[in-house]
Symmetry: C3
Subunit: 154 residues, 3 copies
C-alpha cells in the first residue's frame, strides 16, 4: 500500500529538483504516459481542460525544460516550494490519489522575494518496478492572475 | 498512543476543508464540547482570555459558518494554509497536546495574494469512537494587527 | 537508522525554540563541535566559506544568543519558520545528511508581516547518547540581499 511517508519523500525530492536548479531531473518524476497541467481554481471549477501549461507525455516535459534552458530562465528567477502534508484520498498497493497544498516563493536575480503562487496538486501516483511516479499532476493555483509570469514548473 | 503521523493526517484534512471551500465540514473536526479561539501572541502572553474569534461548542462553529455563507465571504477571498510538522507535547492513548505552526495566504477575488497570518495552533486532541477530534484549538497569531480582516476560520 | 520522522520531529522542536522566543534552547540542538552558518546560494555555489553568520562551536552560538538578548532584538521582531519535509540524502545508524527547505516570515512589532527569507538547510546529524544533534547546519538563503537585516537565527 502506498502510504503518507512515501508521498512525503517523493514530494520532497520533486520540489528539490526544481528549487536546486536540477530541472533535467524533473521529468523523471513522471510516468511516460503522464498528464501534467497548471491551471487555476476557476478554470478547474468550470471544467475547462486547457490550463496555463499542458503536457500529456514525459517527452513534452523534457521539451519544456530544454526550452527553459535555452531562454536562460533560471538566471533570472528561482523558486522555493513549501509543500504541505498530502491528503491521501485513495491508496492501493500500486496506485494512490492525493491532494497536496503548495506555496511557492519566487526569488528574482535582484534578490526580491515574493509569494508567487499558492494552490494544490491534484495527483495520481503509480508504482512501476518499485518506483513511485506521477501518472497525473494538476497544479491548481488559487489565484487567476499568475498566468503570464509562469516559467519554471510548479 | 496518538502519534505524529495521525496528527499530520488530521491537520491536512482540516486545512483542506477550509481551503477547498468545504467550510461545512470544518466543525466536524471538533468535539461537541470544544474550545476554539483566534487570538494573538500579546493577548496570550498577558493571559487575556477573549480572542478575536471565540467559540466554546461545535454549535457555535456551525453558526459561524452559516454566517459566513450568508455574507458570501467565500466569493471575495480564499485562504491557503501551509502547516508545519506538529510539535508533540504530550501523547496518551486517547489524548494528545501539540503545537503546530501555520502560514496562511489570502487570495482575493482580484487575484492578489498576500501573507495573511502566521502563528501556531495550540491544540488538545481527543480520540472518541476511534476518531481524532479537537477538544481545543487556539490559533495564536504572531501579529497583533490582523483582527479586523479576519473572516474565514484559521 | 535515523529516519524521516525523527528528523521531522527534531526540526519542529528547533523551529519552535526560535519562534516562541526560547532562544536559550537553540544551542542545545547542536553538538559541542558544531558548524553553523547562514549564507546565500551564490556564495555557496562559488565555494565562499564565510557566510553572513558563522559559528564553529556551540559556545559561539550561546554568545550570539546573549548578544541578541542584550540588544533586545526580540522586542522588535519575531520569526515564523515553516519547514518542508527533509530530503534524506544519507542515513546511517547514528549519522544522517539531509536538505530541508524553509520559508521564514518576519513579524515586526508594528504587526507588519513579510516573507523574510527562503532557502534550504544543508544538514549533518549525529546521534549521541540517544539524542539527535546537528553536527552542521548551513542555512543557504535563496536571495542574496537579506544580509543586513539578519538578526535572529534561521
Amino acid at each position: 500500500m502506498i502510504d503518507l511517508l512515501a508521498l512525503c519523500a517523493f514530494n520532497a525530492a520533486y520540489a528539490d529538483a526544481i528549487d536546486s536548479d536540477a530541472l533535467e531531473r524533473w521529468p523523471d518524476f513522471f510516468a511516460d504516459d503522464c498528464h501534467y497541467r497548471i491551471t487555476h481554481v476557476e478554470n478547474e471549477r468550470e471544467g475547462l481542460p486547457a490550463g496555463i501549461v499542458y503536457a500529456d507525455s514525459r517527452a513534452m516535459l523534457e521539451d519544456r525544460i530544454a526550452a527553459l534552458r535555452e531562454a536562460n530562465i533560471y538566471e533570472r528567477q528561482r523558486y522555493r516550494h513549501l509543500l504541505g502534508m498530502p491528503l491521501l484520498l485513495e491508496a492501493e498497493a500500486d496506485t494512490a490519489r492525493a491532494r497536496t497544498p503548495f506555496m511557492v516563493a519566487r526569488i528574482m536575480a535582484t534578490g526580491q522575494t515574493e509569494m508567487f503562487a499558492t494552490g494544490s496538486y491534484e495527483d495520481r501516483f503509480v508504482r512501476r518496478e518499485g518506483r513511485l511516479l506521477l501518472q497525473s499532476r494538476v497544479a491548481v493555483c488559487d489565484s487567476t492572475v499568475t498566468d503570464t509570469l509562469l516559467a519554471l514548473p510548479l
